[in-house]
């Protein structure tokens, strides 16, 4: 339940499809987080590189963690360019009761930011500039220094 798309996400369609996929699964709580490109520092948009093999194994580990709490996680992310006010990221948790969903979405989104193998670039003019200062070194970095 990890979906990658070229370009911006169709948020309304994805949120609807996920809701319908679980319509009879008897989950009482569905919480979703949508990340949208903000206008700041005069960027024109963002662009993303994804390394899928590690993203998949990272996501599978989270899915197991969620399953142990009776929950499931869904995630969508953009590859390539996403312009201002378009959305690049959706994460969602379905769980029987609300506490699990409220806590898991927070932990999942934070770990996603810290660990998921995705690289962000600012789009300015014709350039694609790696957003190093807003990026986070993965835990254990510096092994080869």
């Amino acid at each position: 339940m990890l979906y990658l798309y070229d370009g911006p996400l169709n948020v309304a369609t994805i949120l609807k499809e996920w809701y319908e996929q679980e319509a009879s699964s008897n989950y009482g709580a569905y919480i979703s987080f949508v990340g949208t490109v903000r206008s700041e520092d005069n960027i024109e948009g963002l662009s993303f590189d994804i390394y899928e093999p590690i993203l998949n194994s990272w996501f599978d580990a989270w899915q197991k963690k969620a399953a142990a709490k009776g929950a499931i996680i869904k995630m969508a992310h953009s590859r390539g360019d996403v312009m201002l006010h378009e959305s690049s990221y959706i994460a969602a948790v379905f769980s029987p009761k609300r506490r699990v969903a409220l806590e898991l979405i927070d932990e999942f989104v934070e770990d996603f930011k810290a660990s998921a193998p995705i690289w962000k670039y600012d789009l300015r003019g014709e350039k694609r500039v790696y957003a190093l200062e807003r990026s986070t070194a993965i835990k254990g970095s510096g092994l080869l220094k």
Binding site: G35, F48, D49, I50, Y51, P53, I54, S57, H77, S88, Y89, V109, F112, K113, A114, S115, A116, P117, I118, W119, K120, Y121, Y130, A131, L132, R134, S135, T136, A137, I138, K139, G140, S141, G142, L143, L144, K145
Partner: protein, 73 residues
């Protein structure tokens, strides 16, 4: 041969190296001035699993990847 890949923003072509562990890879990459800063902030995966020790043995056909700081979302 071990294939070494540089992910995301690192502008470097993959290498095919005759190495048997990550220490040897570290020695080779430390000689490349353009890699100096990346070695400070990159994580390492062997066959798509993140590792946190340089003692890991490498064998013919293994794949090593360097992962610079991430920022999805």
């Amino acid at each position: 041969m071990v294939r070494v890949e540089f992910l995301g923003p690192i502008q470097k072509e993959p290498l095919m190296l005759e190495i048997t562990n990550l220490k040897e890879l570290a020695s080779i990459l430390q000689e490349d001035e353009s890699m100096k800063e990346w070695l400070e902030n990159c994580a390492v995966a062997v066959n798509d699993m993140l590792v946190c020790s340089r003692e890991i043995e490498l064998k013919d056909g293994d794949r090593v990847a360097l992962l610079p700081p991430v920022c999805g979302g």
